[in-house]
C-alpha cells in the first residue's frame, strides 16, 4: 500500500473556527482521516515547532494554514511550513484575504497595543528583561498568507463550508489537482444559487439586519439589506440569505467582481433610488446611503488586508 499523504494544519491569528470546521464533514471525516497521516496540527495533536523543523524539505504533502498573519511568530512558522510542504493551502477567509481580524488594520499597531495594555491584556515585561515566554511581536499590519508565502490553493469561507472542504480533500486524495491558485468555490456569484427572487432591482431604503424581519422569498437587497451576493462567489449554498441574513462576503469576491468594495459601490450606485432620479432626489439619495453605516467595514469585512493597505495592486 502506498504511504498515506502527510498533512499538516496550522493556525495563525484565527479564532479556532477553521480547525473546528473539519468536524462538519461528519462521518466523511472518518474516511478522510483514514487516508491521511497528520504530522502536525497544534489544535488536535501534540506536535511542536521542533517537530516541523525536523522534517525533510517538501516532506509534507499539503499544509492547510488558517488565520491572519498577525505576529512575527506567525510569519516564521508559515515560512518554515512552506519549506517543508509540497502544497500550501490558504484555509478560510483569514488566510485567504485577511479575514475579520484584518479589520484591525484600520487602527495602528500602537493604538492596538495601547488598547490592549490599558485593558490589562498585554503582559508588560517584568523587571530584569523580557520573559522567555513573552508574547511574540505584533506585526505593524495584519497580512494574508499570500503576502508572505506562495499559496497553491484556497479553501474560502468563514469558516469553510463542508462541501468546499470536501472539494479540497477530493483533489488532494485523488491526485487530480486543479490549476495553481484555484479557489475551491464557484466562479459565479452567490445570487445564482440563492433561492430568493429578485424583483425591483432598486434599493429604496437601507436597513440593518436587526431592523427588519425580511420577507422569506424576496431578495434581501430588494428589501434594503446590504447583501454582497452580487459580487461574492457562490459555494456556500447561500447559507446566510436562506436564514434571512444578508451575505457579508466570507467566501470572497468572484473573479469578475475583483475588489469587493469597489464592485459594491458600483452596484449600489446603480440600484439606489429615492423617487424619480434627478437633482430633486440628490439629498434623499445621499441620506439613504448615509444609512449604510461603516461602508468600508461592511464591504471588506473579510478582506481588508488584501485590498486596502498599500499601493500594491491586488489581483486576488
Amino acid at each position: 500500500m502506498a504511504a498515506k499523504p502527510k498533512i499538516a494544519v496550522y493556525w495563525t491569528g484565527g479564532c479556532g473556527g477553521c480547525d473546528v470546521s473539519f468536524l462538519e464533514l461528519g462521518v466523511a471525516l472518518l474516511d478522510v482521516l483514514a487516508q491521511i497521516e497528520i504530522v502536525f496540527w497544534p489544535a488536535l495533536v501534540d506536535t511542536k515547532r521542533a517537530d516541523v523543523e525536523s522534517f525533510a524539505p517538501r516532506s509534507i504533502a499539503a499544509t492547510l494554514v488558517n488565520g491572519t498573519l498577525r505576529t512575527e511568530e506567525n510569519v516564521e512558522m508559515v515560512h518554515l511550513l512552506r519549506e517543508k510542504s509540497q502544497l500550501v493551502v490558504a484555509f478560510g477567509a483569514c488566510a485567504y484575504q485577511g479575514g475579520v481580524p484584518g479589520l484591525a488594520n484600520l487602527a495602528s499597531r500602537e493604538d492596538i497595543l495601547h488598547r490592549m495594555s490599558t485593558n490589562g491584556f498585554h503582559p508588560t515585561p517584568p523587571p530584569g528583561g523580557e520573559r522567555e515566554d513573552a508574547p511574540p511581536e505584533l506585526l505593524p499590519q495584519a497580512k494574508s498568507l499570500a503576502d508572505e508565502i506562495a499559496v497553491d490553493y484556497v479553501v474560502p469561507g468563514c469558516p469553510p463550508m463542508p462541501p468546499l472542504i470536501g472539494l479540497l480533500f477530493d483533489a488532494l486524495l485523488s491526485g487530480d489537482l486543479p490549476a495553481p491558485s484555484h479557489v475551491f468555490a464557484h466562479d459565479k456569484a452567490l445570487c445564482e444559487e440563492c433561492p430568493r427572487t429578485r424583483e425591483d432591482r432598486v434599493l429604496s431604503k437601507v436597513v440593518r439586519p436587526h431592523e427588519l424581519i425580511p420577507d422569506p422569498k424576496v431578495c434581501l437587497l430588494d428589501q434594503g439589506m446590504i447583501c454582497m451576493g452580487p459580487v461574492i462567489r457562490g459555494g456556500c449554498g447561500a447559507a446566510c440569505p436562506k436564514a434571512g441574513m444578508p451575505c457579508t462576503g466570507c467566501v470572497g469576491p468572484t473573479p469578475n467582481a475583483g475588489d469587493p468594495g469597489l464592485a459594491m459601490i458600483s452596484a449600489l450606485g446603480s440600484l439606489v433610488r429615492a423617487g424619480e432620479e434627478g437633482p430633486g432626489a440628490f439629498a434623499a439619495e445621499d441620506k439613504l446611503l448615509d444609512a449604510l453605516v461603516d461602508p468600508l467595514g461592511t464591504f471588506y469585512k473579510y478582506s481588508l488586508p488584501a485590498y486596502v493597505r498599500t499601493g500594491r495592486r491586488s489581483n486576488r
Binding site: 488594520n105 487602527a107 475583483g258 469597489l262 450606485g269 439606489v272 446611503l289 461603516d294 461602508p295 499601493g311
Partner: protein, 154 residues
C-alpha cells in the same frame, strides 16, 4: 538646490458629450489653465468604475476628476446620476481608508463651459497642492490620524 514645488498629478475622466467637449473648448478658446491633468475620454461619466479611480491612485495620481453632463443632459439619460451616487459612496469609503475624500471630484461641465472647465482645474490643483502628495503606503509607526479605537482611560 531647492526642491521643486509639488505639482499634483490628476487623472480626469471626461464624458465625450459634455465635459470632454468643454475641455476641448477651453483649449480652442485659449483659456489658460494648469496642465496637471491627464484627460481620459469616456463615453459617459456613468462608465467610470470606482476601480478606475483607485487604479489612478495606485498609478500615482494625487487626484481624480470625473466630468459629466449636467443633470438632465446625460446622453444615456442617467449615467451621471449613477456616477454621483458612486462618488458619494466612494468618498465615504476613502475617508474611512484615511484618504482625503476631496481627492475625488465630480463636476458637471457642458460642451459650452470651457471657462468652467478651466476654473475647476485651477481650483482642483490648488486644493490638491494644499493636501499634498497622496501616499497609499501607510506609515508603519505612525498612529492613524483619527484613532478608530477610542483610547481607554484618556
Amino acid at each position: 538646490m531647492a526642491e521643486a514645488p509639488f505639482e499634483p498629478k490628476i487623472v480626469a475622466f471626461l464624458c465625450r458629450w459634455c465635459a470632454g467637449a468643454g475641455a476641448d473648448l477651453a483649449g480652442t478658446s485659449r483659456i489658460a489653465y494648469p496642465s496637471n491633468a491627464v484627460p481620459i475620454r469616456v463615453n459617459c461619466s456613468g462608465r467610470v468604475e470606482p476601480e478606475w479611480v483607485m487604479e489612478a491612485f495606485r498609478s500615482g495620481a494625487d487626484g481624480v476628476l470625473i466630468g459629466g453632463c449636467h443633470p438632465g443632459d446625460c446622453h444615456y439619460v442617467s449615467g451621471n446620476y449613477k456616477t454621483r451616487r458612486r462618488v458619494y459612496l466612494l468618498r465615504k469609503v476613502l475617508a474611512e481608508m484615511g484618504i482625503e475624500p476631496e481627492r475625488v471630484r465630480l463636476e458637471w461641465v457642458s460642451a459650452t463651459e470651457g471657462a468652467k472647465y478651466a476654473r475647476v482645474m485651477k481650483e482642483f490643483v490648488a486644493e490638491l497642492k494644499k493636501l499634498g502628495p497622496l501616499s497609499l503606503e501607510r506609515k508603519e509607526k505612525e498612529p492613524t490620524a483619527a484613532p478608530v479605537l477610542p483610547r481607554v482611560g484618556s
